[in-house]
Amino acid sequence: MTTVDIGIPRRLVEFTVDGETIRVPEGSTILDACTAAGKDIPTLCYGDTLEPANACRVCMVEVEGSRTLVPSCSRKVEPGMVVHTDSERTRTSRKVVLELLASATDLSTTPGVAEWMAETGADPGRFGPDAATVAQPVLVDNELYVRDYGKCILCYKCVDACGEQWQNSFAITVAGRGFDARISTEFSSPLPDSACVYCGNCVEVCPTGALSFKRECDKREDGTWDESRQTATTTICTFCGVGCALTLHVQDNEIVKVTSPHESSVTHGNLCIKGRFGWQHVQNR
């Protein structure tokens, strides 16, 4: 007999978004509710498989009665709440937050940002040519990952994925504080000296391209990376009996990257080193 877990019954909560009354299951976040209602709230640090870090402050909305704006990714809907997602206040906040980020960080490989900046009229140049940035040399100290922390927005997702939320390797952390805060191993040691097990789950969740797979990075550099020529096929990993879902990204009849669907109930997007990187043998023809 097959049993399907439908969870405990949840009450519906009624609240208002931009003048529209919406009913959502109790416990939903404002972001969940708005997404379900077809509203588009930009996010950067939100991870579909991670607890919200609510650090980027891009998804801020106005909740009547609240002194400050609130992060829609982590604030739960309450009955009777009145939410504005597109007010003067939220637009200004979104614009300035994007400007601040773009003035300090290289966002050239962050999906969505260019459009949001155009929409809000963000102009990071107004902080002047001498605005401090987090620009720094790219770190390549192993065969699998490239770390380009000049692109890091400190969303905490890689730390959470490496730590207690998924992998339990705890190889990386946020070190330092303030503008000097950065993702780091202990004493900034090379990744091979750290507790890293090369599962690639940090790369999987990175929203900006600060972390990337070496293979992809190399191909981008020599101009041979072309997503329009790629196909994605989801299959089952053959290394062990767990049954992880693998998505093979193939370009010109060659596997160039392996990911896993976030909605997979087995992996939730996570893999181990074998599933993620153990595909060279397929191509040894």
Partner: protein
């Protein structure tokens, strides 16, 4: 979890420092880091490995925590470090001269030379004796020496020899009349429980135990006690909400991480009347049903640390802490001191929890609020030192008598920290409703021959008041109506010779330095704010629209109070004093 450690071994000294932590958990991380830093002066890879093995903490995590706090060094540092306060009060009383002399004779800040280095420090909390410097000497035991007031010559001297274990002079209260909160300070021996009891000590706890839990909360609620840490939240409501939580255990945390530049009232209470805090915490614990309390004490208060430790030891010995407190069967309570390590943000009520638990001192998102999920995820009350010290008064005088002091909405006595260009800097106690003019008069006003330029009320997160606004009654409601704040009680006086621009720049630097870095508006906004102020001061450029927009978004979208208030003082200087034009 298997720990993978870097290839480094702890020295004999480091092993000795960590030995006492065997069997400890992650919440011992901050004390263990202190133990090594105190003993050796810095934390090596080998020492961090050993701490991680002992407490079973992943090394990257421990590194992230250690690198968060400014008093810890992760690169080799000399055993002796002179911290020179360059913050608000010290800045206007000559801190830069001290720095210049040190640079000339000892070398540039942060450069090691002959077993010593000196560093610029945020507020050391001895603003009444500014400028101040504090020397840490690593060793067994580690020693400290407070220089206040410091001169270039005394700082050079301190850099040249091991400290004489001087923790500075005891606090002096200039005021003689009408004292309640300060009545024992400078009068009783702060190390003597008998002195404390001879002046009415522990009568309040006896009353509380007789009245019972609910009646104590009612009394505190009826007294109208509002939190004195800056947020002015009703204390009784906080206690009642925590007491009512079914989840256990409940915790009590005393916020003694007094790091707001210009604030030193809690230090004066801790140094002058430590048993009062212990008694007050015991009453609070009884009311909310807590068995364990923590005092989160800032790491820069050596004298307060010694006296508070003594108060806890003596209290335990004499049955005022521990099992069946004061013979009251079934009520057990004890207090642990947690020493901060140089991070203003750890005064934020949820950052305190992370810090005590052994994580980076980053604030948590609210809700959930501490009364529901606080320390170790359990219902927790966080109260400021001054707030707590009001509690014994309420339980001896009664709520009605207490309420008759101050105003309807701001009941009771209030401590203010006067510093800067004022004749007699120090802590002053007045009933709420006294005017700023009366308070300045108590402290003797600005020095002879000078005139008042402005008063910074509430600290770096507060706002400026002009000389024509001195009739402002000092209450929470009047301050709010005047679009300023009493904050933690800072009254920093600037005279006509004060360099207002430089002062504002220091405020901006302070917030940039102290931002935890978690959220974008604060992490980057505080940097852009400082850059814009530098441009105004250097080239007179027009930066107001930019400052207003960034400041507004820091206020609106930052996670915690630090980012939300980082623009307050600068905005009020622009709007009320016409600064940065």
């Amino acid at each position: 979890m298997d720990l993978k450690l870097l290839d480094a071994v702890a020295s004999h000294e480091e092993r000795e420092a960590v030995a006492g932590f065997a069997g400890g958990g992650r919440d011992q991380l901050l004390p263990a880091l202190h133990a090594v830093n105190d003993r050796v002066g810095w934390i090596s890879q080998g020492a961090l490995n050993l701490i991680c093995e002992t407490l079973h903490v992943p090394p990257a995590d421990a590194y992230g925590v250690a690198s968060f706090y400014s008093l810890f060094a992760l690169d080799e540092r000399p055993e002796r470090v002179v911290h020179v306060c360059t913050d608000l009060a010290c800045r206007i009383t000559g801190a830069e001269t001290v720095c210049d002399v040190l640079t000339e004779h000892v070398g540039a800040a942060g450069k090691a030379r002959g077993g010593v280095t000196w560093l610029r420090s945020p507020c050391l909390g001895v603003c009444e004796r500014a400028p101040a410097a504090l020397t840490f000497q690593a060793g067994d035991p580690a020693t400290t020496e407070l220089l206040a007031p410091a001169t270039g010559a005394s700082a050079v001297l301190a850099a040249g020899r091991a400290p004489a274990a001087a923790e500075g002079a005891p606090p002096v209260i200039h005021q003689k009349e009408g004292l309640r909160l300060l009545r024992r300070v400078g009068v009783v021996d702060p190390s003597s429980l008998d002195d404390y009891r001879a002046t009415g000590g522990y009568a309040a706890l006896r009353n509380a135990l007789r009245m019972g839990q609910a009646a104590v909360i009612r009394e505190v609620t009826d007294a109208g006690l509002l939190g004195r840490g800056g947020a002015a939240f009703p204390t009784g409501r906080k206690w009642a909400a925590t007491a009512a939580q079914p989840a256990g255990p409940h915790y009590l945390v005393c916020n003694a991480d007094e790091s707001e530049p210009g604030t030193f009232k809690d230090r004066v209470l801790l140094e002058g009347d430590p048993f009062a805090l212990v008694e007050a915490m015991t009453i609070a614990a009884f009311a909310i049903g807590a068995r364990q309390g923590y005092v989160y004490l800032r790491g820069e208060y050596p004298r307060a640390l010694r006296l508070l430790r003594n108060a806890l030891d003596v209290g335990r010995e004499r049955g005022f802490l521990g099992v069946d407190v004061m013979g009251h069967a079934g009520f057990s309570f004890d207090i642990e001191i947690r020493r901060g390590a140089g991070a203003y943000i750890c005064g934020e009520e949820t950052a305190i929890f992370n810090s005590i638990e052994g994580f980076r001192g980053e604030p948590r998102t609210k809700p959930p609020f501490p009364v529901e999920q606080g320390l170790f995820g359990k219902p927790t009350v966080v109260n400021n030192v001054e707030t707590l010290v009001n509690v014994p008064l309420i339980l001896t005088e009664g709520a009605a008598a207490y309420r008759s002091i101050g105003t309807e909405a701001s009941a009771g006595p209030k401590l203010f920290c006067l510093s800067g260009n004022v004749e007699r800097p120090g802590v002053y106690e007045v009933p709420f409703g006294a005017t700023l003019r009366e308070l300045l008069a108590l402290a003797g006003g600005v020095p002879e021959g000078r005139s008042l330029r402005a008063v910074l009320l509430g600290g770096a997160a507060g706002g400026f008041v002009r000389p024509d606004e001195l009739d402002l009654p000092l209450t929470f409601e009047d301050a709010r109506a005047a679009k300023t704040t009493l904050g933690s009680g800072v009254v920093l006086v600037l005279d006509d010779l004060a360099d207002l621009g430089g002062f504002l720049l220091r405020i901006a630097e302070f917030f940039r330095d102290e931002s935890c870095g978690q959220c974008v508006p604060c992490r980057i906004g505080t940097v852009r704010q400082e850059e814009a102020i530098r441009r105004v001061l250097a080239a007179g450029s027009e930066e107001q629209p930019l400052l207003r927009e960034v400041g507004g978004v820091m206020r609106d979208s930052s996670i915690c109070g630090l980012g939300q208030t980082a623009w307050n003082a600068i905005e009020s200087a622009i709007d009320r004093l016409g600064a940065l034009q």
